[in-house]
Amino acid sequence: MNTEENNITVLPVNKAKVRHLIKIALYLFVVTAFEFLIAFTLPSGGLKTSIFVIMTIVKAYYIVSEFMHLGHEVKGLRWAVIFPLILVVWLIIALLMEGSYIHIANFL
């Protein structure tokens, strides 16, 4: 039952593609390592939080665009996935503001 009986030709490893994927993986590791560095060196505050949020978006971009291959799909599919996430931006703004007001009403 070897593969030749089914007329399957196994192509050689696409070295350029694998190198590209390894490079993306290295980016992810470097960014995560950088996050650790920040976690232990910077004091808590707006700057630290902003750096973490930006690093997270960078990592999310590489995972979605390269690992999930969305960056190489047609434009229509890219936007069909990305555009509805605008609702999440609204949710973040609405609920975090609401939370702050509850905090003010209860504790300040």
Binding site: M1, T3, N6, I8, T9, V10, L11, P12, V13, N14, K17, V18, L21, I22, A25, L28, F29, T32, E35, F36, A39, F40, S44, K48, T49, F52, V53, M55, T56, K59, A60, I63, V64, F67, M68, H69, E73, V74, G76, L77, A80, V81, P84, L85, L87, V88, L91, I92, L95, L96, E98, G99, S100, I102, H103, N106, F107
Partner: protein, 221 residues
Amino acid sequence: MSSTTATATTNLWNGGQSPFKVSYGKLMMWIFLLSDAFTFSALLVSYGMIRFSSESWPVPEEVFSAIPFWHINAPLVFVGLMTFVLILSSVTMVLAVEAGSRMDRKGVEKWMFWTIIGGVIFLSCQAWEWSHFIHGTGLGGASLSWNEYGPPDFAAFFFFITGFHGTHVLSGVVLNYIIYYNTVRGVYDKRGHYEMVEKVGLYWHFVDLVWVFVFTFFYLV
């Protein structure tokens, strides 16, 4: 009316072809992942809201500072290890997809195997972390209604968010195993393509993606 027929055949949206140039199954996986992204967003954003409205909130790195076997204070080390394991298993997954695109059954078997191992290691780490968090440091530990480290809401969100993510990892490991089993059985060789590896790969990367956000918003910020 020859011009109408000409436009009808060139219009992407008139049927007979995928305007997004992906198969039905892959498109449906994207739609499912989008809906799942909304669920996870809702959980994480409500965590943010409760945190913003609370009087005080624990510093996560002081709560999650234990590692197995060594009784030392090691903030974030264990969860960092879990993050690296999950990213690594995402890398082995893309390599499985790459092997599948070349019809390389042995390659798919090898990389799917390592992806499953990565998922199992992650789940084991999470089981240890849950157990450690529940038992606590002798002050009652944590449950959905009690939390020795701070507000009970913190523990409730921890169990809900990491639990919901862990359930996804568990389903992912099961799906990965089914793909691995089918690959070994030669199902995809008979079918003539390895698209199932890509579809389950999308799901697995999504689970990794969610962890990136959980890691930032639950452990770092």
